[in-house]
Amino acid sequence: MDHPKLPPSTAAGAADTAPNPHAFTCELPHSIYALAFSPAAPVLAAGSFLEDLHNRVSILTFDPAHPSAASFRAVPALSFDHPYPPTKLQFNPRGAASTPLLASSSDALRLWHAPLDDLSAAAPPTELRSVLDNRKASASEFSAPLTSFDWNEIEPRRIGTASIDTTCTVWDVERGVVETQLIAHDKAVHDIAWGEAGVFASVSADGSVRVFDLRDKEHSTIVYESPRPDTPLLRLAWNRFDLRYMAALLMDSSAVVVLDIRAPGVPVAELHRHAGCVNAVAWAPQAPRHLCSGGDDGQALIWELPETPAAVPAEGIDPVLVYDAGAEINQLQWVAGHPDWMGIAIENKVQLLRV
């Protein structure tokens, strides 16, 4: 069976979707869900979302110093086929392994060796380095699909995965073995995020945000539960710069819930300015109180939280900046090293936005 051929990606600049000349668009032949920026090179990985076996991860490159529509394009040599749609992509954190690795989650956790030094057409292809699969050694051939994962930036050997079988698994990627596996929730786990080297948080269809500490695996802390019981929580983002703050998204909700882990149960703020349901949320890489959210209303809103929780005005916090993408924003990622760039996925396009 032929995989869909990747036509030369059209870098549509100003005219098509964004009236803004500072948004660089790359159009791909299939709808995009997962996005990942590499901290080591100006490279963006975009994963397709086709509901069958044949999917593709495209490696896009851009030049942050001299961005232009032409420089934002796919590198066909590095792009590779992927079994089943990747629910999340992430490069290994900065300063980690010598070679850039890209991790993807779908039916299993896969690590790809992506030689990003050479971004030309003659680049060596991306290769599968390992498949980390939690299939039980028994005869059963089933391994529960992974909904998300997170690469621990402080302890780069660790990747935590979240699965629909209610467990979270912590992998040691250097040795390729499971470090530990926890039954994290009562229902499927939807997202996971590391805070410190041994602390992670996860959200689930059971509507709770729980924080786990690997030093004490017996107990977890519930930081938040959705107000209407059993409203699934879909996404979680932990503010790496200020570990007190987390943001969570609920199912069918236009609100972004901001939590302070030191005050569990009551959110610091609920951000209610989206006109449609929110799909993605990300904290600004080097600022303590800025985050960005994108939703079905096609808007990416940048919020600034007040310094003290008491300063939240009664009518709610207004975002400070807004960008209208024109179509549903499915994914949103902030570039780790460059706080003035972010990438969004709209339908089958990837847009690079200047903040």
């Binding site: 051939e141 629909i164 499927a188 199912m251 449609g276 303590p288 709610g316 900046l321 499915n330």
Partner: protein
């Protein structure tokens, strides 16, 4: 792209390159009209709501010139450098080196080198204005230029720096809203309000491209051509053994002709306090280049701060990360008809892709979280066979669905459940029907039954037999066992039915004889169960009296014995 440089290092260079050009343009503007200084105020990034010093150019009198390199610098360059140096001085005072009692600041300049106008320019860097406050604030809010004549005589409520201006002999100040901030220009001469100048400034800013020359070494013109006042010789650097600020203070006091000491000292004290404060207060957002802070430098500060709430209905926060030149994002404006809490438009189509990705396995085979794990190369084959199997199963489910009339749902679980229920129902009905049929049409059924007997096992009869077995204990039991000949005949009578159990060795025509005997006894057969345990023939017959006359069980068993015994 710098891979290893942390972002904090990257920004200053980034800023410098854009800032320098901006400053050059400021320089060009102020020099074109030959005013004393230009300052650009913009909304602070770390303190939204405040207009703070963003950039500026000083074009006024320069008091001292350093000996060291002065021979190589032209007057022009000196002027251009001056703004840098003043900024440096300010920053050094700002930073930790503001330990008042101690050493001299590390900047090229020290405070006593500054002329009055220079000092005014430097002190301006400390100011911050809320929209509506002071000249820049007023201009910002009203979006119109503000022209102040006789600045030195203005009252401090509208022009906070009035006293400062007096010492510096700044007589005219003009504020123009510009590029999201306010451009302020001032001069030591008294210039009457002239909108032409305002317009010229606005347009000329963009046109003039001032050649950059401040950093590079220009071929030096002869120093003797420099302006008067350039005393090359003997500029003595006085040793600072008292702190710079105190020196300034004494100087300020000396300069005063008015003798309004209190206010001045207050201002200076505040500057003191400011330096102290700044030691303590860390910059919160370390990726925003200009540290900023607020100064309430007028005695009316208290009242002003009370009246700070912006009374405008529409709140516009202009939020510039760097300059607003190339951002995709626009400032948020709360539209007048926007709702406080926007209810999510849940049409059932929300978060489609997100939900799909979390469904976990919707795309995998079987849709139940199962994946066929195989080597990548074998997966295709597996997929095909899996798909076929799936399709077959689905087909059969559909057939089942069509067979069972009560099924309305299409999912497999419901189909199966309904089928089970239907089957049970059917079994029950069959039993009931058999019963009632046998009752209503005895002749036909008996005949038919007899013919059907051979080899026929009715599933329901098993159960009924066991029920009968239980009923035996209640109803009475008559059995005759003929042990001797390994033949067995059991006759059990219930109300209307008779259960006969016969076990014997198989002979030809045995069953025919048994049934003939039953017919002779006027018994209608309801059901027969036959089996061959251990080479023998075992029959369990349920029969019913054909007419109302009951036959004694003994007679029945006798007749049966005769039947099986023959031959």
């Amino acid at each position: 792209m710098a891979q290893s440089a942390p972002p904090s290092q990257e920004e200053p260079t980034h800023l410098a390159s854009s800032g320098k050009q901006f400053r050059n343009q400021l320089a060009a503007v102020v020099r074109s009209i030959n005013w004393t200084y230009a300052i650009f105020w913009s909304i602070s990034t770390s303190r939204p709501g405040f207009l703070t010093w963003k950039d500026g150019f000083y074009n006024g009198e320069i008091k001292t010139r350093k000996i060291a390199n002065s021979t190589d610098l032209t007057a022009d360059q000196l002027v251009l450098d001056r703004s840098e140096q003043l900024r440096e001085l300010y920053q050094s005072l700002l930073s930790g080196e503001c330990d008042h009692r101690a050493r001299r600041p590390a900047a090229t300049l020290s405070p006593e080198d500054l002329g009055d106008a220079e000092w005014y320019y430097t002190v301006c860097m400390t100011y911050g204005f809320r929209p509506g406050q002071g000249l820049p604030g007023k201009s910002f809010v009203s979006n119109q230029h503000v022209w102040l004549c006789n600045a030195q005589l203005a009252d401090t409520k509208s022009f906070q720096r009035a006293l400062l201006a007096k010492t510096a002999s700044i007589q005219t100040v003009l504020c123009i809203p510009f590029m999201g901030g306010v451009l302020e220009l001032g001069t030591a001469e008294k210039v009457l309000e002239d909108t032409n100048i305002v317009n010229r400034i606005g347009t000329s800013f963009w046109e003039i491209q001032f050649p950059t020359c401040s950093e590079s070494e220009e071929p030096s013109s002869s120093p003797s051509e420099n302006e008067p006042g350039d005393d090359e010789a003997n500029i003595v650097f006085e040793d600072v053994d008292h702190n710079a600020v105190e020196g300034m203070m004494s100087r300020e006091i000396d300069c005063l002709s008015d003798g309004n000491l209190e206010l001045i000292t207050k201002e200076i004290d505040e500057l003191y306090g400011l330096c102290d404060e700044l030691d303590v207060r860390a910059l919160e957002d370390n990726w925003i280049m200009s540290g900023s802070f607020e100064v309430m430098s007028s005695p009316e500060a208290a009242s002003v701060s009370d009246a700070e709430r912006i009374t405008d209905d529409v709140v516009t926060l202009s939020y510039s990360f760097q300059s607003s030149r190339s951002s995709c994002f626009t400032p948020w404006k709360r539209s007048s008809d926007s709702l406080e809490d926007v209810a999510a438009s849940v049409a059932g189509e929300s978060q489609k892709l997100l939900k799909k990705s979390l469904a976990g396995g919707a795309w995998t085979n079987g849709g139940g979280g199962g994946t066929a794990r195989a080597r990548e190369s074998n997966v295709k084959g597996h997929v095909m066979s899996e798909r076929r199997r799936r399709e077959k199963l689905n087909e059969m489910f559909l057939i089942l669905k069509s067979l069972v009339p009560s099924i309305h749902k299409v999912d497999k679980a419901s189909i199966l459940a309904e089928t089970i229920a239907y089957l049970k129902q059917l079994e029950q009905r069959v039993e009931e029907l058999e019963f009632s049929r046998a009752l209503s049409r005895p002749v036909e059924t008996a005949g038919r039954k007899r013919h059907d007997v051979a080899g026929k096992i009715l599933a329901g009869s098993k159960r009924k037999a066991s029920e009968f077995g239980d009923a035996n204990t209640e109803k009475g039991h008559l059995s005759k066992k003929d042990h001797g000949s390994s033949n067995m005949v059991n006759v059990t009578v219930m109300d209307k039915e008779v259960l006969l159990e016969v076990r014997c060795r198989w002979k030809e025509l045995l069953m025919t004889r048994v049934f003939d005997a039953l017919k002779a006894l006027r018994l209608d057969v309801l059901s027969v169960q036959s089996s061959t345990p251990g080479g023998l023939l075992a029959l369990k017959i349920r029969a019913q009296h054909a007419d109302s006359a009951a036959v004694a069980p003994g007679m029945i068993s006798e007749a049966l014995q005769r039947a099986i015994g023959k031959g």
